[in-house]
Structure formats: structure tokens, C-alpha cells
């Protein structure tokens, strides 16, 4: 089984987001970077599937040169090799992103049985890159998956919905997007980190098509005008808390 995992480098934000002066990006001067949480789980899922069924796991990202850090992170937890589509760091819209990924998959030549994505990226949240890749490659696609079981040429995929789980049986090769919670990703070990440095990484620089979903600027949502009512300090606040709970009708 060969699996490709697509990830995106995103900043690790704190309690407050600040923007760059040109309003084109988040101010990341003090922030670390990671891959989107859903994608971290996608990588973990790929590693687990390969551990079970054998094969090769590959991680792909479209991102700035610094995104190599995230590719190494993924290889540190067990992904075998990486494909880096090096961008200038600017915003790629979903169509351009999907096209670059499709081209990279074709160029790589590996017959991937499974393309894993996160359900949506933590930052842009466009909810469509995986679907576009699947349509372009004419492969079935399921999204928002919380459990995958491989059974021969078919994947049993479970999706959380109101009132339970919906199950899909998807023939491979397939595209699956997963949600955090499908697994608990492992931490990289020190030997894993060291191996990751030596794992193969191929880089290329795709050309960005004009954005058809064109970001104009980022805007911070208006702050909450709430003024929290302080019910008290420490345990002495308990009676006042219970009064409130009674008012709401939950006690």
C-alpha cells in the first residue's frame, strides 16, 4: 500500500492573532509552525496503515522553503520520504493548490493507493482541495473521516454525524480526508528526528496560477464587547455561581 499525505505549514497561534501591516498574513514573528491538526492525524494514520499493510508513505506540502521543517517533522514520526512544492510563501487558492498537487503526483509516478488530507486546513479552511484532487484524478473521495480500515482493495471509512457514524466502503485508489481524533499522533523520538534528516526529499517550484478565489485582505473580527461579570474570587464564588445556574434553569 502506498500512501501520500498532503500537509500544510501553519502557525501555532496563541490567544490573540495579530496581522502584518499589509493585512495579508498573520504576524508570525514570534510564532512557531506546525502542520494543521487534522493533517497531523492524517500522517499518523498513514504511518499506522503502512505499519499494518506495508508499503511506502510519502508526505507532500506546498509551502515556503521553511516548510521543509514540517516535512522533516512528519518524517520524524515515520513518513518515508517527502515532496516539497516550494512556493514563494504567498497565498495559493484551492484550485491552484489542487492543480499543483495533481501535477506533482503525476510527476512522482508512484501508484498511490490512498491520498490522505486533513478535512480542512487550520488557517484558510477552504474544504475543497482534496475533492478537487480526487475529481482531477478521477478517484473516489470521502471526507471528515474518523476511522479507516483497509480491507483488500476497499477502505471502510467512518464519519461522525449527528446521531452516530456513517460508514462508506471506498474502493482504492481513493482520496480520504480525516479529522483530528481519528488517532492520537505520536511524538517524534530522538532517533526518529535524526533519521528524518537523512530521508529523501525532492523539491520543485511549481508556477502559481492566478487566484480565482482571490484574498484581498485579512480582517480581525470585531472584539467581543462582553464585560464578564465577576462572580467572585476562589471558592467563595460558589453560591453566586449556583444562583446563576438556577436562573438559567440547569440546577
Amino acid at each position: 500500500m502506498n500512501i501520500l499525505v498532503c500537509v500544510k505549514r501553519v502557525p501555532l497561534t496563541g490567544g490573540k492573532i495579530t496581522l502584518t501591516e499589509d493585512e495579508q498574513a498573520i504576524q508570525t514573528r514570534h510564532l512557531g509552525f506546525t502542520v494543521s491538526p487534522h493533517e497531523e492525524c492524517a500522517a499518523e494514520e498513514a504511518i499506522r496503515l503502512i505499519e499494518q499493510h506495508g508499503g511506502e508513505s510519502v508526505v507532500l506540502t506546498l509551502g515556503p522553503p521553511e516548510a521543509e521543517e514540517q516535512l522533516r517533522d512528519m518524517m520524524a514520526i515515520g513518513i518515508d520520504r517527502a515532496i516539497h512544492l516550494v512556493s514563494d510563501g504567498g497565498e495559493w487558492d484551492p484550485q491552484a493548490t489542487a492543480a499543483a498537487i495533481v501535477a506533482a503526483i503525476e510527476a512522482d509516478g508512484t501508484a498511490f493507493d490512498l491520498l490522505l488530507f486533513g478535512n480542512e486546513s487550520a488557517d484558510a479552511g477552504n474544504y475543497q482541495v482534496a475533492v478537487r484532487v480526487a475529481q482531477a484524478l478521477r478517484r473516489p473521495c470521502v471526507t471528515g473521516i474518523k476511522a479507516i480500515t483497509a480491507d483488500g482493495d476497499s477502505l471502510r471509512c467512518e464519519q461522525e454525524v449527528a446521531g452516530g457514524r456513517d460508514v462508506y466502503a471506498v474502493p482504492t485508489p481513493a482520496v480520504v480526508t480525516v479529522k483530528e481524533g481519528i488517532n492520537l499522533p505520536r511524538y517524534p523520538s530522538v532517533p526518529g528526528r535524526m533519521r528524518a534528516k537523512r530521508k529523501p526529499l525532492s523539491a520543485s517550484e511549481p508556477t502559481r496560477a492566478d487566484a480565482r478565489l482571490e484574498m484581498v485582505r485579512l480582517v480581525l473580527p470585531p472584539g467581543s464587547s462582553k464585560q464578564a461579570e465577576v462572580l467572585g474570587h476562589g471558592p467563595e464564588a460558589a453560591p453566586r455561581v449556583v444562583e446563576i445556574l438556577q436562573e438559567i434553569g440547569v440546577v
Partner: protein
């Protein structure tokens, strides 16, 4: 931000406002209340108990042994307090050696442990290390230095308890309160402006860790430190630690040769490093609490800086670090505060009265430094004399960003380094060069840094003197002692003693006290009588209130109302502040810093008078120009202030000219000296060999706050009538038998077990003939305060304080050096020098 979480109302007026609620600010607060201070508010812009500064992410371990007396004292005091607060977990610590050089350094650690009384400590074999730390790869190691008393503290808990105690004593705490400004009127801090209102205050303490420079600047003061990154990761879960009894069951390991440490942290292993490239920040660039993913001082980890360290940790602890199931769970670039010389910044800022700094302090010094700053604020002096950490020590150039960053960068990797006591800085040199600099370069001077000045330590051009003096010059056989040293120093010494030598004293700090109140001003500060005729030079101690040494320096009475203070460069700025702080309140005296206006060339030796008289028509005879006098004389076209004193104990003068005329003075002296065989001599002679042969004490070595004038053997003459700082204590001390007396010792035999001759460098413990440490009635250990060659007497000289039973001329004692004992003899037990005991030379 929209909350009403804290009372918005701050006190309108307080005696003291402390900014910063980490380990330091809380400690200062607690000790201030303990000392009886009231009307105190403690502010922090962050939440409590962890406001997001360095205390919150510190690795929290303490290794008490350090080569610095001051730092060891602060650490010992801090450990005492942590134990009293019941937050100290003693787990022991091992500094491991991978190299022979490190093994020698561990010998030095043993020496420092004994010198400062940190006991027990021991050296371990690799097998013994393995027994204590079963997951270590002992094959990499040659040995280890074990400190059973090392431990881990809960610094946040300690800070909390101290804060609670201070609150019980009436202190106000305002968390989530950001300081927006500090108001200063007439050079004195008056008000703290915050986002919750203003507080008028008499005194303000900045205990803001790496934010301190930013806060100080609001008042126009400078706290010269740089935030620097220390990398730390936590890996786990470690199977072996699954059943850990405590947070730390195994000794902490410091892998000194890789600049790293590894310590158990519950079920995980914490790995920290000082090995990576120095990563510095500006205090203004530290992110806000809200913007930070973790906290403002826990910055994103930069993996690329940790690659080599990972491999080194892996090879040292393969069982744990190499375990595939052990993951990197936490990794940060933690911010620390680092200074240009690696020491804390304690005391009142020289720029703004009432504005205090308690900064650049790490966990191991926190409570001790807090107590010390509180004592300084209340009493003007502290139980631990922190003169080396005095914030006033820095010269203007040492407070610049360029200098701080250069030195912090260079010092960073010395954190676990093997640092020779004479080791010189490499970065940001040649900031201050004397007018003689080019001439000194021509003479192949080897420059050391003195108070930022480039100052020759010796001149390679004097190498031919080695041949001249032949056997009288000993060669050092061991690499350690010959590092940062040259036998040429001893040759220059002999040339001076036999003919003459001239030396660059530009690094002196010079300031004039002037005005109708000038006499009162200097009388108040100086111990000796300053009401002397114009033309006199007085060498005087300057005392702390309790009678310990604050400084020793010379004062020239230039005119009725003009006194010129000349002091060593190292403490020049601290001394300047001391004088300034004690000027009469009525403004009748002023102080003017002349340090950069004058240059000084010293010339001494039996031929000094012949040389000087050959270039001046003024009377320089003994009758016409007595000892301890100054005169203005003509030397060629130069009007020179000549001061007849000596720190090397020979006939001669300090020659002062305006700095732009220095080069000409040098040329005249060098040319006139040539026929007399005079040579330029470096500070190796002036500061060490010449001084030690004369048993002259030096501030910062023999003289410091912990010792008084009687103990130093300098209580000659009567106590002057006018009052002076420390007088009451001084009078009392004169009436009592000293607990220890400054003695000069000579080494009887230098031969080590391997047959190599070894020479002490200072800081070694003096032991009894039986090998026991010597402690005086005040609990102070006897150790070598200064060590150096005495080429004229052919012996290696050590100075030390000894209690009365040992301070006996001829007493046989021992000194411990690099793991071995050497016999020494007490040569003198008062100010009598070992060379020219009658002082006939200086008065000839």
C-alpha cells in the same frame, strides 16, 4: 481586554513599588517586609502565580559550586531559603567529563568547593557514575564531579510563598497590571504609571527579568542585559521513570563538554543546552502574553539549532534518548537574561536615584539576590557583598547594544566552559585605546582588557630580558598556568626593580570633587584624614557602614576646594556612584568625571629620578618632592601633574597629562629612559608581581565588604576626628581582636606528584598542616585572595586571611591546588612586605 477581574484601584502613594513578580520580585518583596518596610506594591503585567517570565519555564536545578565567591554566596543563601520554604528537592548532581581538560577543570571544581565550603563533594570514576545514573553511557566519560547537595527547586512555589508572606505583612499585589511609564524628577524616580492608574513612589525596583531594559528605559536608565535563548526539550514517557518516587530520583547530569544537561523530570527526561549559536533578542521584541502560543519567554523551538545536541544526548544516554517509544513532548527556546560579564545587575541604577535593579538573576541566585537587594535598599549594604554584581559597574560603552550582544554571544558558550581566571574577551575589543596604543603595538604589547581599555599585560619586545635575567626567571611547566601568562612579565619586573619601568595607567577612573563643600564630601567618604595641605596625596580606604571595604583609592588635594579621586578602572564607576550618592545634600559640592580627560603613565625603579630629572628642570629630589606629594612639573612642552606614590613599591611617579598629550609624554619618557635601561612594563608587573612583593592589597581581592581595615592590617595611624561612613564600626573593630588577619605566604615546594612544578593562580583553599580547611571565628574560610610570582625574592607569593592561631610568621600550612597539597609558610602577618620590608625604596 474586557475583564473586571482585579480591583482597578491601585494605592495612590507607596514607599516602594516592585515591578515583576517572578522569583526575584517576590523575593525582594518578602525581604523588604521582613526588614520592616511597608507601603509596598508588587506589580506584574502577567497573571499569577506564573506571569510568563523566565521563572515559569526554568529548569529549576541548582549546582552550588562556582568559581566565583559572590555567585557561590548568592547560591548558598538561595538554597538556604528554598530549603526553609520547603521547595528544595536534594537529588545530587554530577558534572561529567569527556576530556582530560575537563578532568582538570573538575579538579578545580573540587578546589572551589573546598574554598567556598560546599561540602561534601567528590570525584567519581565512570563506573561510579554509572552506578548512580544507570542509564548513562559511561564509556564516553573519564570521570565526574559529584555534588550530593545539588537539587531541584519549585521556584514558582517559592515565589508564591514569599509573596503570601509579604501580603500578610501588608503588601499590595496587582497582577495583570502593565507599567506604561516611570516618572523622574530632578534625577529621582517619583511615579509609576500603569494601565490601572499611577502610583507615586519613593523607590521602584525593576525585577522584570528579560524585560528589565525596557522598563528601565522608561526612566532614562539602563539595565544592560540581553534576553538570550536557551534550548530545552522534554522527552518521555521513560519506562525507567514510570515508578519514580520523586520528581527527580537520579542525580542531574551536566555534560559539561557538550554544554548540556540532562535531568529526570517525573516520567520524562529534560535535556537543555547552551551549546547552540547564541540567539539574542531585544527586550522590545518579546511577544505579549496574548500573542504567545505558550508564554512570552517560551519561544518556538528551532530544531536546526539542536541537531548536534540531540546526537550528543543520544550517545550519552542511549537507553532513554534512543528509545523509539520516547517522544519529544515539549521543546522551547526559553529566554534567559544574560549580561556583558555574566554577572547579575544589582543595586540602584546610576542614572536615576531611587530606581533599583534586581535583574539578570537566575533561579539559583533568586532568593539570595532578592534578600541582598532588599538589604541594600534598607541598610545601604548587604550581608553578601555583591560589588561584582553592582549595576553601577558598567561603563557607558558596556551598556550599548553592540557591546552587550557581542559579549553575551561570546559568554553564552562559556556557560559550561573551562574558563581560565585570566581569560580575555575576544569580541568588541579596541573600544577604548590609550594614547600610547600605537607605540605599544610597535613594542608587540599583549593587550588585556581593563575597564574596557586595551592595556598591555606584557611586551613581547621585552623578550631579550629573559636572557639577561636567565635563571632568576622561572618557567611554568604546566599548560594551565602558562596560559594567559608569560615569563616576560617576571623579566619586566626585574628590569623595573633594577633599573626602571614605565607602565600605562590610562584605565584609572578619575573624578574631581569640587566646591565649598568638597572637603566635607571627601571627609565623609574617605576613612583617612583629607584635611591635608594642597599638594598632598592620600591613599585611603573607603568603608561601608559596617566597616567593611567599599573601595581603596588615592585622593589628591588639588586646591582648597578641589579633590581629585583616582581609583582602579574595574570599580571606577561604582566608586563614582558612591561618592556622588554621598555628596552634601545642600549642593555645596559637585563631582566631575575626568576619566576620559586624563591619561596616566607610571614610572618606577631606582633610575626613575634620574630619568625624570633629565627631562624636567623642576626639583624632583627627595627633599624637593617627597613621598605622597603631587606637583605640577614641566616635561618638555608638557605640563605634567606628577604624583609620587607607588603600587609597585619603588621610587617613582604617576605622571598625569591631558589625554591628547599622552603620546608625547610616552615618547619623552621612553627616549629619556633608554640610556637608563628603562623598559615599558605591563600590568602583569603593576597589578601582580610588583604589588604582591610589596603585600599591597587590592580591592576585589584582599579588600571587600566582608573584611575590615583591622583584618586587612591597614589600621595604622589614629582615627580622624571628622565623621565618615563606617567610622563607628571601624572604631569598634579597632578595639577588638580581628577574627582573621591578612597574611602574605610563600610557597615552599611546587613539585606535584607527577614531578611537574605547579603554580597557584588564586582562589585556592589554605589548609592546616594536617590538611584541614581553616575557618575563622566569623565562619569565613581562608583562601588565596591573590597569587603571583615574586621574581625579586624568587618565590611564589600567596595572600590570604588567617585566623590568629595560624596568622603567625613562620607557620607551616598547605594550599590545595588541582587535587594536590603544597606546603606554604606564613611570611608576614601584617602590612610588612616580603620585598624591601622597610620600604626604603619607595621613600628614597
Amino acid at each position: 481586554m474586557a475583564t473586571t477581574s482585579e480591583p482597578r484601584q491601585l494605592p495612590a502613594r507607596q514607599s516602594i513599588v516592585i515591578i515583576g513578580a517572578g522569583i526575584v520580585g517576590n523575593s525582594v518583596a518578602y525581604h523588604l517586609t521582613r526588614l520592616g518596610e511597608s507601603a509596598i506594591t508588587l506589580l506584574d503585567k502577567g497573571p499569577l502565580p506564573n506571569p510568563g517570565g523566565s521563572t515559569g519555564h526554568a529548569s529549576n536545578f541548582i549546582f552550588p559550586v562556582d568559581h566565583s565567591k559572590e555567585m557561590t554566596a548568592l547560591t548558598k543563601e538561595s538554597m538556604r531559603q528554598y530549603k526553609e520554604l520547603d521547595v528544595y528537592l536534594e537529588c545530587g548532581g554530577i558534572e561529567v567529563a569527556r576530556t582530560e581538560a575537563r578532568m582538570q577543570e573538575l579538579d578545580r571544581r573540587m578546589v572551589s568547593a573546598k574554598t567556598w565550603g560546599i561540602e561534601p563533594t567528590s570525584l567519581l570514576t565512570p563506573a561510579e557514575i554509572r552506578e548512580m545514573v544507570p542509564f548513562i553511557n559511561e564509556e564516553l566519560l573519564l570521570g565526574g564531579f559529584y555534588t550530593p547537595g545539588a537539587g531541584v527547586v519549585d521556584s514558582l512555589r517559592a515565589a508564591t510563598i514569599m509573596r503570601e508572606r509579604a501580603v500578610q505583612a501588608g503588601m499590595t499585589v496587582a497582577a495583570n497590571t502593565e507599567v506604561l511609564g516611570l516618572d523622574v524628577e530632578h534625577g529621582r524616580v517619583t511615579r509609576v504609571r500603569t494601565d490601572r492608574g499611577d502610583i507615586e513612589a519613593d523607590r521602584v525596583v525593576i525585577a522584570c527579568g528579560c524585560w528589565s531594559p525596557r522598563i528601565a528605559r522608561m526612566a532614562g536608565a539602563r539595565i544592560p542585559l540581553s534576553p538570550a535563548v536557551h534550548q530545552m526539550i522534554d522527552i518521555g514517557p521513560v519506562a525507567r521513570f514510570a515508578d519514580a518516587r520523586t520528581l527527580v530520583d537520579y542525580p542531574i547530569v551536566r555534560d559539561m563538554d557538550t554544554n548540556m544537561y540532562e535531568r529526570q523530570d517525573g516520567g520524562g527526561l529534560e535535556i537543555g543546552s547552551y551549546a547552540h549559536r547564541p540567539i539574542m533578542m531585544d527586550a522590545d521584541e518579546i511577544p505579549s502574553i496574548e500573542e504567545s502560543a505558550l508564554s512570552p519567554t517560551e519561544l518556538p523551538f528551532t530544531q536546526q539549532d539542536f541537531e548536534v545536541q540531540m546526537e550528543q544526548a543520544l550517545e550519552l544516554m542511549p537507553e532513554i534518548v534512543g528509545d523509539e517509544s520516547v517522544g519529544v513532548r515539549y521543546a522551547i527556546n526559553g529566554l534567559l537574561s544574560v549580561t556583558h560579564d555574566g554577572l547579575p545587575l544589582l543595586g540602584e541604577t546610576p542614572e536615576v536615584a531611587g530606581l533599583w535593579s534586581a535583574a539578570a538573576i537566575w533561579i539559583k541566585e533568586g532568593p539570595g539576590a532578592g534578600k541582598t537587594v532588599a538589604e541594600l535598599m534598607v541598610h545601604g549594604e548587604a550581608e553578601i557583598d555583591v560589588y561584582e554584581s553592582n549595576i553601577a559597574r558598567a561603563y557607558p560603552h558596556q551598556k550599548t547594544k553592540t557591546h552587550i550582544q557581542a559579549r553575551v554571544g561570546e559568554g553564552f558558550n562559556k556557560m559550561y566552559g573551562i574558563v581560565h581566571p585570566a581569560e580575555q574577551w575576544e569580541t568588541d575589543r579596541r573600544v577604548k585605546v590609550s594614547p600610547y596604543y600605537e607605540r605599544q603595538q610597535e613594542r608587540q604589547a599583549v593587550f588585556y582588557e581593563a575597564a574596557g581599555w586595551e592595556r598591555p599585560q606584557w611586551y613581547e619586545s621585552n623578550a631579550p630580558l629573559l636572557e639577561e635575567f636567565g635563571d632568576r626567571i622561572n618557567r611554568r611547566e604546566a599548560e594551565w598556568e602558562s596560559r594567559w601568562w608569560s615569563p616576560i612579565i617576571n623579566a619586566e619586573h626585574l628590569a623595573l626593580r633594577e633599573r626602571a619601568g614605565y607602565t600605562d595607567l590610562t584605565a584609572f577612573a578619575i573624578f574631581d570633587v569640587t566646591g565649598p563643600g568638597a572637603l566635607d564630601a571627601v571627609q565623609r567618604v574617605a576613612m583617612r584624614q583629607m584635611d591635608v595641605p594642597v599638594g598632598r596625596v592620600v591613599y585611603t580606604p573607603v568603608l561601608l557602614p559596617a566597616g567593611g571595604f567599599k573601595a581603596d583609592l588615592t585622593i589628591m588635594r588639588m586646591d582648597q576646594d578641589v579633590f581629585r579621586v583616582v581609583t582602579g578602572g574595574a570599580w571606577g564607576m561604582s566608586d563614582l556612584k558612591w561618592f556622588r550618592d554621598h555628596l552634601p545634600a545642600d549642593g555645596s559640592a559637585q563631582i566631575h568625571d575626568q576619566t576620559n580627560a586624563w591619561t596616566t603613565l607610571g614610572m618606577w625603579g631606582p633610575r626613575a629620578r634620574d630619568i625624570l630629572s633629565s627631562v624636567t628642570s623642576d626639583d624632583v629630589s627627595h627633599e624637593g618632592f617627597g613621598f605622597a606629594r603631587w606637583k605640577e612639573i614641566e616635561v618638555g612642552p608638557l605640563s605634567v601633574i606628577a604624583s609620587r606614590i607607588s603600587y609597585v613599591g619603588d621610587l617613582g611617579w604617576e605622571l598625569y597629562v591631558p589625554i591628547e598629550q599622552g603620546a608625547r609624554l610616552w615618547d619623552i619618557v621612553a627616549e629619556a629612559g633608554l640610556p637608563h635601561g628603562a623598559v615599558p612594563v605591563g600590568a602583569g608587573v603593576y597589578g601582580t608581581t610588583g604589588r604582591l612583593e610589596k603585600s599591597y592589597r587590592a580591592y576585589g581581592a584582599e579588600l571587600e565588604g566582608e573584611y575590615d581595615v583591622v583584618e586587612a592590617g591597614m589600621a595604622w595611624g589614629k582615627v580622624k576626628e571628622p565623621d565618615f561612613i563606617g567610622k563607628e564600626a571601624h572604631v569598634r573593630q579597632r578595639e577588638q581582636a580581628p577574627a582573621a588577619t591578612m597574611c602574605t605566604l610563600t610557597v615552599d615546594d611546587h613539585t606535584s606528584a607527577s614531578g611537574v612544578k605547579r603554580y597557584m593562580l588564586g582562589g585556592e583553599p589554605i589548609l592546616t598542616a594536617e590538611g584541614e580547611p581553616i575557618t575563622d571565628a566569623k565562619g569565613r574560610r581562608s583562601f588565596v585572595t591573590s597569587a603571583g610570582a615574586g621574581p625579586s625574592i624568587g618565590k611564589h607569593i600567596l595572600m590570604t586571611y588567617l585566623p590568629p592561631e595560624h596568622a603567625v610568621v613562620g607557620a607551616q600550612l598547605q594550599v590545595q591546588y588541582m587535587g594536590e597539597l603544597y606546603p606554604v609558610t606564613v611570611a608576614t602577618n601584617d602590612s610588612t612586605p616580603v620585598f624591601d620590608p622597610d620600604n626604603s625604596r619607595v621613600r628614597s
